[in-house]
Every structure is written in structure tokens, then in C-alpha cells.
């Protein structure tokens, strides 16, 4: 799948896919924040399992998404493990020793916590990407009653990102046709070769910016207009309010418990 597909794809006919855009956005975002503020093994494990169940049982993610993100996440987990187990310098009870190399229990707790939280956020991102497209995000911003300028700039940013990716592919192909090999040579040489990519891309982007600006103005756009109407409106059902409300309540409870009682905090397992 191309990068453009990741920005625009939505899983066909899944249970999560049928929810309203705000629910589809708040679900992975709030679960990610819950994972971020918790360092309790059982809760971290629960959040990871929960997001995996929602993702695989209710959202029908394309295997290309899952493979790509899992591969990248496992590689990151390996890096975290090496860093926390051998290079972090944490003090604690030694649970393994081989010559000068030792692993302490505190490092194991920390790396377990980091990996569980990282995986939760990774699969939450997969859930977000495979159930929402840019229109859902823009509509949610409007539904939240944020200023129109914000949702308009967001929509334009998505559109420009896709155009930039397409231009970048075209320029790369054109430069490859003129014997520029972006993947060969030393790091310095490779960086120099990217100038051949950057210069035309900057020129194209500047031209496009001017045309887009003219096209917007020509179609009666003005931030200050009071008479704007909206053709697309969101249908948020009661079930969506219940899910969003529950998610916010759980998050508030978690933060309150952490701040006042100190529960859901700390290891050992």
C-alpha cells in the first residue's frame, strides 16, 4: 500500500467503521493516553489486549497495515530492550549475570512497561488509520466547535500532503531517469543527491501554493465571512455518546486515582 493509501483508506463495513467519526477518533486517542499515564503491569497488559481485541475482532484492519506497524514496533521494542536492560544504569536486584554484564529487576520492570505502552499506542494508531480518513478528522474538529480556520487548515494540510507525496514520487522517477541513484554512495553523497529531489519539489510546492491560494479566493473563501453554511453534517448516535462518555470517564478516573491514591502505579509485577 502506498503512503497515500494509509491516509485515505477506511476498512469496509466493520463494527468500529460504522461508528461516528468522533468515536472512531476518541477511542484510540484516549486508550493511548491511558497507556501513557499508567505504569501498572496488569493495566498496561489489559489496555494492550483491549486494543488488540477491538482492532482484530471489530475493525478488520488490512494485513498490510498490521504487518508494517508490527514490524516497525518489534524493531523499536528490541531497541528499548537493549537500552533499558544493558545501558540504562538502573540500580536494583541482580536477576541475571554473565561476566561483567548484569540485568537488574528494575530494568526488566521498566522495559516491560515501555514495551506494553508502546505496543498499545502502536495498535491504537493502526485502529485510527484503518477506521478513519481525513474527512472524519476534519468533521470531528468541526463537531468539537473549534474555529473553522482550524478545520479548513487541517483539510488543506491533508490535501497538500497527498499532493506533495505525488510530486515527490514524480520527481524521484524523473531524477532516476537521469541516472540519480538515491540509495547508492556514502551518506554525504546521498544527502547531496537529495538536493536534486528537494529543489524541484520546493519550486513545484511554491507554484502549487500560489494556485491553491488563487483557487480558494476565486471560490468565495474568506475566514471572516459570517454566512458560511456546511453541506456535510455529522450524525452522532446515542451509542457514540455513551462510548465517548465512558472513555472520558475511565480516563478521568485513572488520572484521579493516580493523582490522589497513587493506585495503578508502579511495579513489581
Amino acid at each position: 500500500m502506498s503512503i497515500r493509501s494509509y491516509l485515505t483508506y477506511v476498512s469496509p463495513e466493520s463494527i468500529v467503521g460504522r461508528l461516528s467519526p468522533p468515536t472512531k477518533i476518541f477511542l484510540p486517542v484516549i486508550v493511548s493516553f491511558m497507556a501513557l499515564v499508567t505504569i501498572n503491569f496488569y493495566l498496561n497488559l489489559f489496555l494492550l489486549l483491549a486494543i488488540l481485541v477491538v482492532l482484530f475482532a471489530l475493525a478488520k484492519p488490512p494485513s498490510a497495515y498490521v504487518k508494517l506497524f508490527t514490524g516497525a514496533a518489534l524493531w523499536m521494542c528490541f531497541v528499548f530492550a537493549i537500552f533499558y536492560l544493558f545501558l540504562s544504569g538502573y540500580k536494583g536486584n541482580v536477576i541475571f549475570q554473565l561476566g561483567p554484564v548484569s540485568i537488574v529487576d528494575t530494568s526488566v520492570y521498566m522495559v516491560t512497561s515501555i514495551i506494553l505502552r508502546f505496543l498499545t499506542m502502536t495498535y491504537a494508531t493502526v485502529l485510527l488509520l484503518c477506521t478513519t480518513n481525513q474527512k472524519d478528522i476534519v468533521m470531528t474538529v468541526r463537531w468539537l466547535r473549534l474555529p473553522y480556520a482550524f478545520s479548513f487548515m487541517l483539510a488543506l494540510a491533508f490535501r497538500c500532503a497527498i499532493m506533495f507525496l505525488e510530486d515527490s514520487t514524480k520527481v524521484q522517477e524523473a531524477q532516476r531517469g537521469r541516472a540519480v541513484e538515491f540509495n547508492k554512495g556514502s551518506l554525504i553523497r546521498r544527502l547531496r543527491k537529495f538536493i536534486a529531489l528537494l529543489v524541484p519539489l520546493i519550486v513545484i510546492s511554491l507554484k502549487r501554493t500560489q494556485t491553491i491560494s488563487n483557487a480558494i479566493e476565486s471560490r468565495a473563501f474568506s475566514f471572516s465571512t459570517k454566512k458560511r453554511t456546511f453541506y456535510f453534517t455529522l450524525q452522532v448516535k446515542p451509542v457514540d455518546y455513551v462510548i465517548i462518555g465512558t472513555l472520558f470517564a475511565l480516563f478521568a478516573l485513572l488520572v484521579a486515582s493516580k493523582l490522589t491514591l497513587g493506585v495503578f502505579m508502579g511495579y513489581p509485577i
Binding site: R159, S218, T225
Partner: protein
Amino acid sequence: MVKAVQVKDLWWKYDGSQDWNLKGINLEVEKGEFLAIVGPTGAGKSTFCMCLNGLIPHNFMGTMKGTVVVSGMNTLEKRVADLSEKVGLVFEDPESQFIGMSVEEELVFGPENLGFSKEEIKQRMEQALDIVRMKNYLNKAPYELSGGQKQRVAIASALVTCPEIMVLDEPTSQLDPVGKAEVFSVISELKRNRNVTIILVEHLTEEIVKYADRVILLYGGRIELEGQPKDFFKEVDLLKEKGVFPPQVTELGYLLNKSYGASDGNLPLTIYQAYEEITSTLKKVSSRCQK
């Protein structure tokens, strides 16, 4: 009766430019007229188009003299947003003018800005899609469309506000032959069945002669030549000197006329006229030979 466009002694110079880009343009366009503009690169064609919907002077830094009045509105006094209800502008590159991620989002943008109701937007959108024959593409993303389809969507997004004047700035220059044919069939539909004033900047003179009521040659910021297609394209040498290529059949007729004095002064503009012209020339030459 109010003219569709009245341009009086228009001068424009971009900031930083040494010379004036438009030099004393005087032009009137009747309601419902189809005006074609030809000229080489750098003649000021796109600059002139942007003067018609107020992008110049409102969106560009520069110096302007003279007046541009479209549908009774002076472009100096009105905002581009106000003028956009009267003038629809279609740019050369269809890809760069898209704002939405689907054809539907693209089409509703203008009417939303103008404050139309949902029902009215829907009705206007259906009408515009009907004209450009893109009704089945409502949920398609712009990048899923061919060049011709993209430009048809761009035309529909200008038409959706029901402007009195449509300005098309080289709408086919980046398209393949199929895309060009698609766009010209839409232009043909606009001319035949809709009461829209059309100002078309185009290099394809073969297409211009099919639709245009009047043609102007813009060169170095000035109108160098103006007239109905049959008179305009008679000036083959002048046009070629200024970097404009008349229809090939016109050139052929011109050369035949020069060599054999065959024509009565009118040069062919279409292949059928050329066929008749050549047949009559051959007959004349053959009768001369027999004598």
C-alpha cells in the same frame, strides 16, 4: 444593456517587474458571447484572466490603472468573494486547484462559502455534474480521476455557483488528446445550451474556430489583433510572427491562395471548408491547364 465585461485602458505591473504586463487593454464582451484569447507565453493572458475575477489587484502586489467592470461590478471596489458569484475561473493545472478529497467536497466548497442552503447546494451540484457528465464520480478522490475528468470537475466547481461569466485559462494545456476532447465537449455544451459568457484562453486554434464568436491576440500585454475567426485567421503571417499557429487547414488555404490565387479572400477554418476550397482550386488549375 450592461455588458458582461468592460475593460477600459487597463494597465497592470507586478511589483518587481520592469515592464507593464498589461498595456492599455480596451475590451468589451457581450452577454452570452464566446471570446477566445490567443498569444504566446508571457503575453499577459493569465494576468488578464485574473483581472476579470478581481484576483488582480486584490491578491497580487502591483500597480493597476484603468477599470475592469464585470456584470456591472467594478473589480477594484468589490472583493474577490463577491465577484466569484459572477465570474467562475478555471485554471490551467486541475490538480493544483483542488481543495477537497472527493469530487463532492470539491463542489460544495464554493456554495458553502457563499452561504447557500444544503438543498440549494445539492441542486446546483447536480446541475453542474450533469453539464460536465460526472454524476457517477461524486465520491471519487481527485487523484483517482484522469486529467480530463479532473479538469471537468474543476469546471463543475466553477459552474456550481452559476456564474454569468466563465473564464477558462488554458484548460487543456496539460491534458492528453482524450482529456482535451472531454473538456471541449463540455465547453461545447456550455456554448450551445447555457447562457454563459465564455472567455477561453487556448492555443489550439483548430478548436477555437469551432466555438469562438470573436478572437483576440494578446502580445506583449497589448491587444494586437481582434476579430471574428474568419477575419482573424486571415492574418496568417502576422499570427505566425507573434507565435500563434492558425489552424493547419487555414495555412494550407493561405498557401494555395498565395500560389494559385485560388481563394476569394476567405480562408478555410475547418476541414470541410478546406476540402471545398482545395476541390475548387484543383478544378481551376485543371481548367487553366486544359486551356
